[in-house]
Symmetry: C2
Amino acid sequence: MKIVIFGTGNVATVLGRKFKSAGHDILQVVGRNAKEASALAYELDTISTVYKSAIDKGADLYLIAVSDHAITSVIDNLYLPGKVMAHTAASVPKEVLKSVSSHYGVFYPLQSLRKEMKEIPEIPVFYEGNDDETKLMLGRLADSISPGNVVHADGDMRAKLHVAAVFVSNFTNHLYALAADYCRKEGIDFRQLQPLLEETATRIRDNAPGSVQTGPALRRDSETIQKHLALLKDHPQMKNLYLLLTESIQQMG
Amino acid sequence: MKIVIFGTGNVATVLGRKFKSAGHDILQVVGRNAKEASALAYELDTISTVYKSAIDKGADLYLIAVSDHAITSVIDNLYLPGKVMAHTAASVPKEVLKSVSSHYGVFYPLQSLRKEMKEIPEIPVFYEGNDDETKLMLGRLADSISPGNVVHADGDMRAKLHVAAVFVSNFTNHLYALAADYCRKEGIDFRQLQPLLEETATRIRDNAPGSVQTGPALRRDSETIQKHLALLKDHPQMKNLYLLLTESIQQMG
């Protein structure tokens, strides 16, 4: 497939690499910053441009892989009639691309992608398109980089997935960050917790998370809970969350 | 090392397996429930008893691997003078074993251990002892099952580690459970989130969690936050946590 990529950030970079290794032809990288665009183009063995007027018209697919709020400026004054267009944003409706082409959709990779990653993890892809041609093309592209891990999903489902993703990724990472901060202040090596937190994530491959819940909150061990709250007396933000999450576990359990 | 294990639960079972594969000699399994004790003894190629009077006096180490509140009943009327004793509980001081022997300590495995696990993950061990003999023996035992992953830690440090563990394991698992529940109710396949939540855990091997925080909370994307709160209107428990964790991220960021 011949692809033009808009964007030079984490999503554009990692998807670009995946497309390239799947054998697709990246015709061009389009970016606001000339240096970043040419750096990514160099890595993907292609050329770059900062000008909308210089966009290659020969691609099968134009993928806008930029942050949510930047989509508007990318599509401003962009017309690619007859071409298949897609963006990668969870929270943005596909219809935002209507002004650019009559074939538009979304190609949402449900993964935390970073340019720096050496090994690219599994990337479930949720795609949608406004017509069969768009659906077919985006579905094929998704299959080529994530075989067996591709789901057709409308905007409503994508928004709900994003809510769930915020809980299992943004919020858990915040708990990791609080714990790391606590360890640093208390003179403990946070890395000692790495095997535990990885096991907590991997064990739910085969176990519903509700069925493997443990800890003082679930067993209503008020002695340990009180001890922990005392240890958190100089960490008010953590103490507050400890109380609320303990209550939430007991409410669910 | 000759070891007698008290307990037949997750910790006793997994540690028993690790001790056995490290070449130690499990002399006996002591348990309240005869059937469970003999099942674990069978697996560990040894014998079992339910009677304190029948405990083998020939071991180097007596390890009490039972739940916190069960320790008291295990040590009631138990006297093993001159023997090295240890329990595996994060929140219980080593001194609770004083009445049993003059050599006592703690052998705390910082990991989520389950009998059902096929592959045993890395188990960082935090140990302490009231004298050199106890320290030396517990430290050696720890090294034999977790080389390079052993730390001498007093009760205060162990308690703090446990607080951090509650955040990175019990609380994150609760967030997984809430998200799984949400997915089930909204008709989404929770398994699609597995690669993301594993990557969120593994990426902090090489990145401080504070440095890889992302999401609508951190970028103060109030449009997305409002959209998510609307999607959570029938999930009050999650909506409440969404607000609090969003606030906490913004407070930290």
